[in-house]
Structure formats: C-alpha cells, structure tokens
Amino acid sequence: MVDILSTPAPYILAGLILYYLGYRFYAKWIDRGVWSPDPKRPTPAVMYMDGVEFFPVNRYVLYGFQFKSVAALGPIVGPVLAVQYWGWLPALLWIVIGVIFIGWTQDYSAMFLSVRNEGRSFGPITYNLIGNRARTILLSYLFIYFLLITAAFVYTLAATVNGFPGSFYVIFGILISGIILGQLVFRARWNILYATAVGLALVVISYIAGYYIQFPSSNFLGTYGSIMFWSIIYSVILAIAAIIPLPTLILPFNYLAFYPAIVSVALIILSALLSPLSGVTITRPMFNGFIGNIASFPLWPMLFVTIACGAISGWHSLVSSGTTSKQLEREIDALPVGGGAMFTESIVALSSFAAISVITATLPNANGFVFGAATLASSLIGKQLYNAFTLFFGAFLLIMGVTVESLVVRYWRLVLSDMVSDKKGAIRILGNKYISTAIVLILALALIATFTFDYVWEYFGGTNQLFAAFALLLVAVYLTKVRRPSWYTLIPGSFMILTTISAIAYTAYVFLMHGFNPSKPLTALQGLFYNYLNSIGVTPAPVVSAFDIIAFIIGITLVGLSITMGYYLFSSLIKYRKERGISRTSGNPPKTMITNDKNK
C-alpha cells in the first residue's frame, strides 16, 4: 500500500474541495454583495431577443458552451511547464489560489459587465468607459496576442505529433470524419444521430489506424527538422480551416472531437483520484528553487504567466462578453455559467498537474502530460494499454489545440482585415483572407523556428494574463462608476498587471541580452537550432541575434501597449472616483440596484 500523501490524489481532492468552498462562499458572497443579481430583471437576451444573436439559453447549455469555449491547450501546457520549472508545490498553489481569488472573478465579472451594458462586448464597453484610444490599443493588443497563441500552440502540436507519430493519423482522421459528417448533415440532410454514429465509427477507425501506423517515426528528420516539418503541416491545416466556411470543417470537427475530449478529461481526473489504488506516486520534487531549472525564470513573476489559462485567462473574458452574455437567460445564471465554467476548466489544469507530477522526464513541450496521463490511466486499467493511452492522450492534446487554434487564426485575419478596412492604397491587400492567413502563420513559424518555445510561451502567457488584468480593471472602472465595491477586481487586476508587465519585460530583456551575446543558446532546446544552422553551414550568431532583436521588439511593444492601457484604465478609475466622490475602493453599496448607465 502506497503512502497516500505521496500520490496526486489528496492534492487533487484538496483542490476540488477548495474550489467548492471558494464557489460556495467567496463567489456567492461577491455575487450577492457586488452585482446583486435579480432573477426578475430582464437580461439583454430577453430584452433584445431577436432569435439570432440575442436569445435566452438554459444555464446548463450555456455552462457547457462556456466550458468548451474556454478549455484549450493553456490549462494543460501551463501546469506541465510550471511543474517542470519550479516543482509541483508552487504550481499547485497558484492554480488553486489563482482560480479562487482571481480566475473565476474575471470570467464572471466580464460576463456581468456585458450583461449590465446591454450585451455589449469588450471593444464597445472600453470605448464607452474609457475612450476610443483605449479601444484601439485593445484591438492592437489582440492582434499580437493571437499571433503569440498561434506560435505557442503550433509548436506544441508539432512537438506532440513528433513525440507520438500515430497521433497525426488520429487527428487527420477526425478532420476527414468531420468533413464527411458536415456533408451528411448539411448537404445530404441526414438525421444527426445517424450522422454522428457514422462520424464516431470513423473516429474509432482513425484511432486504430493511428495505433498501427507509426510512420514517419519520431525525429525522422532530426528533432529540429521533424518539428519544423510538422509545424508546416499544421500551419497548412490551420490555414485551410481558417479560410473555408466553418460548417465545412471546423464545426463538425469540433462536434466529433468533443467525444474523445470529454472521455480523456474524465479518465485523467478519475485516474488521479484513484492513484492510491493504482499505486502511482508523485516523482517530481516539491520545489526546485526560486529560479526555474530549465530556463532561468524567477518564480515571481514568471510562474504567474507560465500557468496561463490554468488559473486565469484573458481569452475567457472575450468569450464571456462576446457571446455568452447575449444568451444569459437570468442574471442569477452568471455565477454558475461564468464562474462555474472557470472552476471546471481549472480541474483540467489539476489533471495536467497530476499527470506531469507522476513522471520524472523533463521535456521542453507538453509531451510530459501525455506520458503522465498514460501512466495514471494504464496503472488503473491495465499496464499493457500504456501505448494505446499515449496515443489516446496525444490525440487529446492535438484535439484541444486544433479546435481553438483554427478559430484563433480566423480571428487574426478578421482583426487584420478590420484594421486595414478603412485604409487607402496597397495596404488594403493585407485584409485579403489568403494573405492575412499566410502572414500570421509565417510569422508564427518564424517564432517557432528559433526554438525558444519556453520564452515564446512566457510571451503568450504574459499577454493572456495581461488581457485578463485589463478585463479586471475595466470591471473595476465600471463598478466605480456605478458606485459599487470594486476591490475584488481592483486588487487582483493591479497584481496581475504588475506581474505580467514584469514578466513580459523580463522576457524581452533576456532576448535583448541574448541578442547582444548569442554565442550560446538560451536553452538546451535552442541548442538544436544552433546545431541545425551549423549543419547547413550557417553561423548561428547573426541569425539568432536578428531573431532575438525581433522578439525583443515584440516584447517591448507589448510592454508599451500595456503601460498605455494601464494608464488609461487607472486614470479612468481616478476620474470616476472623483466624479462620484468615492474615497475608498470598498464601501457600503447603495440599496438600489444597478441599472444601465443611461438610467443613472
């Protein structure tokens, strides 16, 4: 019998209990005390019901939708990297504390902010509360944010396929199955049940094919060449997915992918909770020290951006205010939908934590998650199934990446098209869907090519968390304006903006320093890039230096945009406080309910 405390089970269980307590007490307290939802007050979904954009939807449906929309690679890869850098305890603490005090508040408050502003999304709300410049900065920021997500996720997808060759056939098979399902449903008008049965049968065949076809093998072009090869293959797939109409590929693919994805999440959680029975123990150190052991990252501020969506994510506020708020049936549903989905997503982060903590290998990608999840599941069900589980969880990673990334590339081209739509001259050509898609993927490939994934991930995590800080502070501005307590978003928002700007500035600084002295690679991973350049007869130093300077410029641009946006947010906050004569961020809320600003 293993020592229970040496298995992941008690920590996962403790996390789940703390989530319950956080939701039951803190979240409900904030819900009642700050936003005071009224089930009788009509939401935008009811008030502006048009049956196409605004329409009330049952809370359970919205909860499922919100959860699906916010769960992607972030909560999986983030904990994997953080546990490897600093040990499992800091990662676990931030996942749990971050979600309870910051993560859910952002998702929930962004949703409520939109509900109380006639269902407007973040852009128009920013315009209303702060001004046009702030909105422009926000959109410019999104532009870089989507690029960084693409670079981080495409690398992760490529590294996963390279590690588990059969998984490509699974994801490719599911994509083809999705196309067939789409044709059956939309063209042949089949009943969805029959079409789903055919689609799932094809998915099963894809898994079987992936299990037996292990071609090409891992590192068939060397590690560097193979990962770049798969990155290009995925870029092509994402380009096709981003250009063709959603019902042709992405919608049916997402639908079919739901089935293996939900089974994977449930299986990991169950395996982690039953680890005392299966005898799987934590093999990682509890704490590796203040400076990370792969890349030289100080725990503060880097831990808080590395874990990314596992604790808090700016992406969630975009979903909360963009779509979900327009379909919220009653105000009292905001907490279970917005807050509840975030708590649930964090369970995915806990599962990732459990998976990585039970293996000893340290890898510069998310493959440790696959090995760990396969170890947990096979120890519970049957060790002879280990290889099958590596394929299953490898495919799960790919599913989570492709479902969101295909949309991100599409959004990027929409942002670019929006930005150049009112321009004159040749620059308008950037709005062309083929050109804009090609630009984002080529830029992402350039970032991947330097093999500085650890640092690109920090940029991605930093922008993601910084967007969350913007969302929290925007909510604080609104709450101050309508004379409600704003401390519960102001304090986390201030902490996050300080932490994330520091993290991005630190990463940019590292790139700059390395750009001046590129004789040695930043990490062992980048050593592969050096080896590759040497093998083709190119001196690495000038090439790496040029890439470092570009990466530095990206970082410093982000810092500049963030400081400007922070300035606008805090100055608006001060302005509204002065206007309303509020001397403290907290106080007794007025007894009257908040109404739309027009009624004030």
Partner: protein
C-alpha cells in the same frame, strides 16, 4: 405524470450540458450566419429607401410584408456598436 416530469428535470442538466458542450457553439454560429444573410436581404429589399436601388420597387413591395416583422430587430442590430470582439465565441 408528475414522476415522469421529475425524472425529466433530473436528467436534463447532463443532457443540456452535453448539448451546450458539443453543439451550442455550432448553432450559435449558424444563427449568426443567418443574421448576416438577413442583413443582406433587408438591404436588398429596403435598399430603395436607403438610396441603394438594388431591386426594382415592384419586387420590394411584394416582399415588404415578409420584411416588416424583422425591421425592428434589424434596425437594432444595425445600430448597435459592435466590433471584432463581438465575434469571439471560442
């Protein structure tokens, strides 16, 4: 009857969660596409009044009874301040 209603109420959350997870995003996207198609249709038929004579007035008038119920929501949608962040649905 009451018992069956109770059973239905108990079994619904899981079913609805599954629907929300698997299909609601697709439905939302379809409806949004329909919204944009409706915008075009309204512009074609009511274009005359807005200064875009796309359809001959005869056909616009023939279609008018079908358009009238949608005018209010169409106007509301067209006048809404919206930007790129409205599109994001994950």
């Amino acid at each position: 009857m009451e018992r069956s209603l109770k059973i239905r109420k108990k079994s619904n959350p899981l079913k609805e969660f599954m629907y929300g997870f698997a299909l609601h995003g697709n439905v939302t996207y379809m409806l949004r596409t329909r919204m944009y198609m409706e915008h075009l249709f309204m512009l074609m038929t009511l274009g005359d009044m807005l200064g875009f004579p796309i359809l001959p007035p005869y056909y616009s008038l023939r279609l008018l009874p079908y358009m009238v119920p949608n005018i209010k929501s169409w106007k509301m949608r067209m006048l809404r301040d919206r930007d790129f962040t409205d599109l994001i649905s994950g």
